[in-house]
């Protein structure tokens, strides 16, 4: 058995009354890829943040091997100590300065503050040596702002390796990548582990975990519930470990699509960036169908969602909902026309956190007679409506008169579902509806979308999770640079290539 390089011993961390990690122990061996698996909120990121010194554990210790292979205790709560011990972390959200080159980003922080001259030649030689061994290709001289997401991620990894990391932590590395880019990343990781690097990667995608890791550790509710060699693992067993029960598999039947419920004709949006731009888009959604919009984040999904939500006014083109043209799109006009909207960022756009659950359930319908009479709120009606919906949609929390920010992410999403589905919308926009949800809540969202489809609604499902789209959508359209391309194919390889813009 290869030697140990890292051992986490009984780490615990609480935030207020929430136990994020409870007595978690892990070991990592030299040259190994350990997948840290768990649902959102299971405590994966907290654990890694303790390892990296961002959080101070309430209990427990960490030992790291030094160059000679002896295990030494790590000073906790100090990122500098973690860096010095050879621990490198690549966060889900990159921490690169966009206006300077990759080379400068990589060397930034590892040079003495008051040095008179910088030895860029030696730095470049060292980085090129690392690139050679690992295969992590990235242009070094141009500003990072002009690099692609995949390249930026490689720069982040190079940054860690440049500081002689012997343990590399990758937090959800594939979330922003196309399937092909993800495959390349894992090839690079293999090359690096052959050189003796040890890797922990955090994920909730079972497929890649099974394909690329050596060992799997599963966290649930902050507790390590399992640890096994990947060769001995199967998808079902791990999924059960993650959720604690068999996940309800969403099943769907074929259905004939009905009349169009939404038509976009030549709709363009001129935005400040690519993510806010649509270029002369035609789109039709029919009753009884779920239309999946696949694409890498930031390719115009935002603009499309804003148009359907009524938040953006197209610079050209026409929007028809059922049979009427929406000439002056506003959120109010869209709601009245029968559009139900599930926003991408449920905390920012979905709810007013300081207001009560009951208030958030009626916030889109303040004009309704059930909600108000003569400008005054009908508080009893609002409350009984909320109680009914909370029961029907299983919104759990401290009650309907509590501020909605006290709800968990999954329950906030259920609140929004209740608000949207209660009024039987003819068209539903679901923008990243399961992002950040645990598997149980995500399955519930899928079930509700299918139910709406059965009832005769049309659904626009925007998602960066290709598996979700493949599982739910009747038709798939790929969005790339603000343009839509329909595909007959349900093959993930092919759709992945289209997402990357490499094939039509």
């Amino acid at each position: 058995m290869p030697e140990q390089v890292l051992s986490l011993n009984g780490l615990s961390k609480r935030f207020g009354s929430v136990v994020a990690n409870d007595d978690v122990s892990l070991t990592l061996r030299r040259g190994e890829v350990l997948a840290l698996l768990g649902e959102n909120g299971a405590g994966k990121t907290t654990l890694m943040n303790m390892l990296f010194g961002h959080y101070l554990p309430d209990a427990g210790t960490i030992d790291v091997s030094d160059e000679a292979g002896r295990m030494r205790p790590l000073q906790l709560g100090h990122p500098q100590a973690a860096l010095a011990a050879g621990i490198g972390m690549v966060h889900q959200h990159f921490t690169l300065a966009e206006n300077i080159s990759a080379l400068d980003n990589i060397t930034l922080g590892s040079e003495p503050l008051l040095a008179l001259r910088r030895d860029r030649k030696a730095a470049r030689a060292k980085i090129e040596g690392i690139i050679e061994k690992s295969g992590l290709k990235a242009p070094l001289s141009i500003p990072v702002g002009r690099l692609s997401v995949g390249e930026r991620q490689r720069v982040e990894i190079l940054k860690a390796l440049y500081r002689d990391a012997r343990v590399l932590v990758l937090d959800e590395p594939t979330a922003v990548l196309t399937p092909q880019e993800a495959d390349t990343l894992f090839e690079n990781i293999k090359a690096m582990t052959n050189e003796g690097l040890s890797v922990i990667f955090i994920s909730h995608k079972l497929r890649e975990v099974l394909a690329f890791s050596d060992r799997i550790a599963v966290l649930r509710h902050g507790v390590k519930v399992g640890e096994l060699e990947t060769s001995a693992a199967d998808e079902k067993a791990i999924a059960r470990m993650m959720v604690g029960a068999e996940t309800p598999k969403v099943s769907r039947e074929r259905m004939a699509a009905g009349a169009p419920v939404m038509q976009l004709k030549g709709v363009s949006v001129v935005g400040r960036s690519k993510r806010d731009t649509l270029q002369c888009v035609d789109l039709e959604v029919r009753a009884h169908e779920i239309l999946g919009i696949a694409g890498i984040s930031g390719n115009g999904q935002n603009a499309l969602a804003q148009v359907i939500s009524g938040l953006a006014v197209p610079t050209a083109g026409a929007i028809h909902i059922v049979d009427s043209e929406i000439s002056k799109p506003t959120p109010q006009a869209m709601v009245s026309a029968g559009v139900g909207r599930i926003p991408e960022d449920r905390h920012r756009e979905g709810i007013v956190g300081a207001m009560t659950v009951a208030e958030n359930m009626v916030i889109e319908r303040l004009g309704d007679m059930q909600v108000q009479s003569r400008g005054l709120l009908r508080r009893d009606a609002i409350q009984s409506n909320a109680k009914k919906l909370a029961k029907e949609y299983d919104v759990r929390g401290p009650g309907v008169t509590a501020p909605s920010r006290l709800l968990s992410g999954g329950n906030i999403q259920k609140l929004i579902l209740a608000r949207v589905f209660e009024h039987a919308p003819k068209l539903i926009l679901a923008n990243q509806p399961t992002r950040g949800l645990d598997m149980g809540a995500a399955a519930e969202v899928g079930r509700r979308l299918l139910e709406a489809r059965e009832r005769g609604a049309g659904v626009v499902l925007i998602s960066e999770d290709l598996d979700e789209i493949l599982g739910l959508a009747d038709r798939i359209v790929v969005i790339r640079d603000g343009q839509l391309t329909e595909t007959e194919s349900h093959d993930r390889e092919r759709i992945g290539l289209m997402m990357a813009g490499e094939a039509a």
Partner: protein, 357 residues
């Protein structure tokens, strides 16, 4: 290392005890400069309490002082609830006061039953206009209202001086920069004979009551709260954010204008450039102390007016500098604000990882 975390819950006793404790601490702290100035703090505080609650007259003085603070406090509290930062209540107050003397000092010699409502309405309208303009600039061009409303205060003050030496100047005023007096029938009736307390207080209390009710119970208040707490979600839900902002701007400016009209037509009778000792700015403090609640504004305004009036009377009785009065006022405000912070957050010593209790 010290970290600050929000408290999960605040018990009722704790929420009530903190402000009282803060007030006591502030008095203890203010005792130090008092002693340095040679005054016995216990006697001084006795004088202070006597200065506020010692007689009907002193209570009337305190309530008279609280009246404009309730108006400006409401102006700030409502605007702040929508995250519209109206720092211009001082200027809006003077606009209201100018409108009050413009109509009230002889332009219309009509019976009081017509003149008083006219003064009140035009006073409010002038203040509303003073807030509507910067809000329009914010909505239309994204101009930061903190800057525009603050700077408008100075512009309005200079405009006031110009008016007081020009069109609004009292022809009988021997050249002093002051306006002609409001006609007798235009004055707000006093509440108690031979006291300064006037019916502006009733208007202020009614305004606070209406504001409280509308905020909690009306669709208007619902929208206002939603816009203030999360404008992105409000917009997504179909609430017209700009309309809500503009609506609250008009009400906020109107309340500040009422403060000016009520000071002129209820208390002073004429307008000078020192009508307000910073009521507009103190209104912001009142609103913050009140946690932006209209009923809280009334309580906070009474508290601040008590400290002002009491400290004033104490400095006169003890023969210490009147700056000490300002010091007592400032210290008690700081203490109450710190106390409010302690009530909301707790401080954690992070080196042990355990919460300090």
């Amino acid at each position: 290392m010290i970290r600050i975390e929000p408290r999960n819950s605040t018990s009722r006793a704790f929420a009530l005890g903190i402000p009282i404790l803060s007030a006591v601490v502030s008095l203890a702290l203010a005792a130090i400069p008092l002693m340095l100035a040679g005054a016995n703090p216990i006697v001084a505080y006795g004088e202070m309490i006597k200065g506020v609650f010692g007689s009907v007259f002193s209570i009337s003085e305190m309530l008279t002082r609280a009246t404009p603070l309730i108006f400006t406090g409401l102006a700030a509290a409502l605007a702040f609830r929508a995250k519209l930062w109206n720092i211009g209540a001082e200027g809006q107050l003077y606009l209201g006061a100018m409108a009050a003397v413009a109509v009230g000092s002889g332009a219309f010699d009509v019976p009081g039953i017509i003149l008083i409502p006219l003064i009140i309405l035009l006073g409010a309208a002038a203040g509303a206009a003073g807030m509507a303009a910067p809000t329009y600039l914010k909505i239309r061009f994204g101009a930061d209202e903190v800057v525009t409303t603050l700077l408008l205060n100075f512009i309005i003050l200079i405009f006031l001086q110009m008016m007081l030496e020009g069109p609004l100047q009292d022809p009988m005023g021997l050249g002093w920069p002051q306006s002609a007096p409001v006609l007798d029938q235009g004055m707000l009736p006093p509440l108690v004979d031979r006291m300064r307390i006037h019916s502006g207080l009733i208007i202020a209390l009614v305004a606070a009551g209406i504001a409280q009710f509308m905020l909690a119970r009306s669709v208007w208040g619902f929208k206002l709260r939603a816009v203030g707490e999360n404008a992105a979600a409000a917009r997504h839900a179909g609430i017209n954010v700009n309309r809500s902002l503009f609506g609250v701007a008009i009400i906020s400016g109107g309340l500040a204008g009422l403060a000016g009209a009520s000071e002129v037509a209820g208390l002073k009778g004429y307008l000078t450039a020192d009508l307000s000792p910073g009521f507009g700015y103190t209104g912001i403090v009142v609103a913050m102390l009140a946690g932006l609640s209209p009923v809280g504004v009334v309580i906070a305004a009474l508290f601040i007016a008590s400290v002002f009036v009491g400290a004033d009377s104490m400095s006169r009785a003890m023969g210490v500098s009147s700056f000490l009065a300002d010091l007592v006022v400032s210290m008690s405000l700081l203490c109450v604000l710190v106390g409010g912070f302690v009530a909301k957050y707790r401080i954690i010593r992070a080196d042990t990882g355990k919460a300090a209790r």
